[in-house]
């Protein structure tokens, strides 16, 4: 059976069910990611965004369902070959403090060279480039424990970029960053997507930024996808009220043309 290449999803979650101690977190969830897009995962705290991302990166094994990358079940893939195809930056990663930025970024090459060749000084173009696009070149020899939270975050992002994978997943990459650096990261995401064709899935809390930088917004609530579509269709007053629990007005960004919301008040629930 031949299918149009562009129609075939690159990454596909099928009927995922994931429980923590019998408490279902993801419920019969299915999602297709087409090659080459920027998908934003949204939802309130605890809605299951990080869990979904980790499941798609095989950091968690679902009790039911399956994730396919390029049509192959990721559960059967070897760790290293998977790590050459997708990189994930976890939410608030744990850091060994007494290593330099460059040494952290070097770790991104692990899936390409393996444990023994990691003993060498790595000077791949990929490391230089990752340092450059994240603006971390000036910091490359600084120990991580001498950096600000935002600089450290960018060092981690640089590591994921050095992994040079066709799929990149980022869990709240803009947390800790000031507004300028938030935009820098989002523009970097867009650039990676446009220039390298990297398929990106990113968890964001700022809906306006998501609408601005993502082609597609997927909204989770209680472990289910409740909205999925272009920013115009997802960022609406109804969604803000039902999913995020706020009254708001949605306008059109006069420059970018994407929807943008102004919050007014919290929706008070009875009980």
């Amino acid at each position: 059976m031949k299918e149009d290449q562009s129609q075939k999803p690159l990454l596909e979650a099928q009927n995922i069910e994931l429980r923590y101690n019998d408490k279902p977190i993801l419920k019969e969830l299915s999602m297709d990611i087409l090659s080459g897009g920027v998908t934003a995962l949204l939802g309130t705290n605890g809605s299951g965004k990080s869990t979904l991302l980790k499941t798609m990166a095989r950091l968690l094994m679902p009790q039911k369902g399956c994730v396919y990358l390029d049509g192959h079940a990721i559960a059967k893939e070897s760790p290293r070959s998977l790590a050459r195809k997708m990189a994930i930056l976890p939410q608030s990663p744990e850091v060994p403090m007494a290593i330099t930025v460059r040494e952290l970024v070097e770790q991104g090459r692990y899936p390409h060279v393996g444990p023994l060749r990691m003993l060498k000084k790595q000077d791949h173009a990929a490391i230089e480039e990752a340092l450059e696009v994240t603006g971390m070149q000036a910091f490359e020899q600084r120990p991580l424990d001498s950096l600000s939270g935002g600089e450290r975050q960018r060092a981690w992002i640089a590591m994921a970029i050095a992994q040079s994978t066709p799929v990149l997943m980022l869990d709240e990459p803009t947390t800790f960053l000031d507004v300028r650096h938030q935009l820098e990261i989002l523009e970097l995401v867009r650039r990676l997507n446009q220039e390298r064709g990297t398929t990106i899935i990113v968890v964001l809390h700022d809906l306006n930024q998501a609408a601005r930088y993502a082609d597609r917004m997927v909204v989770l609530k209680d472990g289910r996808i409740v909205r999925d579509g272009t920013p115009d269709r997802v960022l609406t007053e109804a969604v803000l009220q039902e999913v995020f629990g706020i009254h708001a007005t949605v306008l059109k960004d006069p420059v970018a043309g994407t929807p943008i919301f102004l919050p007014h008040s919290v929706v008070h629930r009875e009980g």
Partner: protein, 350 residues
């Protein structure tokens, strides 16, 4: 100025200087170590004896038969404990981890004690000590790991089970000690750790293991670097976290057991050495592992120089010439305050 600093890895410099300094220290300590003992030999005499000058025959005997093997054993056993400590601290991501953490030392000592009290009749008992110690050490690691097995291989639980198992094994050793009072002396020395009476036989059972396992430990630095980024990150880099962590646990256990088989359960040294190393050369295992190995070897040698010097003083002050301070007592004496200092530091940083 700024540019210079920017383009240099700040740890790299300390690493190179530190390695040189450590090698220099090794030389100095070797001379001191050979000099001290019941008979103090001056450096001049040491040189002459090593050059096989005839009239130095007596010194030559002491140096070749007693002092030199002891020096070598101190260096290599210390190195093994240091590397084991560095590996454990990296993979548990806990700066307080040490070779005794998983009960390895306690398990090795128990097996050694059982062996020397019950199999003493067998002719070549000492030759099998490393194997015996390994059985104990690896057996303990397997046991601890099986007990703490669960979802996601929780490192804290592993450490807790390890510490508990260690103390149970240690009380077993104490029980044997109570039942075999005639062996109290030698059992105690295994528990504290001592270099007394270590000669070429002991060296011969140490170096072949060391020659294989220390390089393996150093080669694991690439994997250790990935592992110390945390379980999720390591997994997303394509590390088979469970398997890798397992292999490194076993490696640390084998290193520890090998050292324990030669010198007994010397405490603290495998905690302090890697800690000093990390302060100086940072956490990248490519520097941390070799540096910890060297530094801890130096530390154990230094501690034994102190032990020997103190024993000499004791004799001068008329104490029995049978009394020799075990090096384990010296490391504990240096180590306990250091440990408290570490804990205090840790609290401050929170």
């Amino acid at each position: 100025m700024n540019k210079l600093i920017r383009n240099r890895n700040p740890y790299e410099m300390t690493y190179k200087i530190g390695l040189l300094a450590a090698l220099l220290l090794v030389l100095i300590l070797c001379v001191m170590h050979i000099a001290f003992g019941k008979v103090v030999i001056s450096p001049q005499h040491i040189l002459r004896a090593l050059a096989n000058v005839q009239e130095e025959e007596h010194h030559r005997q002491i140096i070749w038969q007693l002092r030199l093997p002891r020096t070598l054993i101190a260096l290599v056993a210390g190195a093994m404990l240091g590397l084991a400590g560095a590996i454990l601290q990296s993979i548990t991501r806990n700066p307080l981890a040490e070779p005794g953490l998983l009960g390895v030392s306690a398990g090795s000592v128990l097996m050694i004690v059982i062996w020397i009290t019950f199999a003493d009749g067998l002719g070549d008992a000492t030759r099998y000590l490393p194997l015996v110690a390994w059985t104990g050490g690896i057996g303990t690691v397997l046991f601890v790991n099986a007990l703490s097995l669960g979802k996601g291989m929780d490192i804290t639980r592993l450490a807790l089970v390890g510490i508990l198992t260690g103390s149970v094994l240690q009380s077993c050793t104490s029980l044997i000690l109570l039942r075999h009072t005639e062996a109290v002396g030698s059992i105690l020395l295994w528990m504290i750790g001592s270099l007394n009476g270590r000669v070429w036989v002991h060296w011969d059972m140490l170096w072949p293991w060391a020659l294989v396992i220390i390089p393996l430990g150093l080669l694991s630095a690439g994997a250790a670097n990935a592992l110390q980024l945390g379980q999720s990150t390591a997994a997303s880099l394509g590390v088979s976290v469970r398997r890798m962590r397992w292999m490194m646990l076993i490696l640390a256990a084998v290193l520890t057991a090998g050292a324990v088989a030669a010198v007994g359960a010397i405490g603290f040294i495998g905690l302090i050495g890697p800690h000093i190393a990390r302060r100086l050369v940072g956490q990248d295992a490519r520097r941390l592992f070799p540096f910890s190995t060297v530094v801890t070897g130096v530390l154990l040698l230094g501690a034994d120089v102190i032990a020997q010097a103190v024993s000499f003083e004791l004799h001068v002050f008329g104490l029995s010439s049978q009394v020799s301070l075990p090096v384990g007592a010296v490391t504990a004496f240096m180590g306990a305050p250091f440990f408290l200092y570490l804990i205090k530091q840790k609290r401050k940083s929170h």
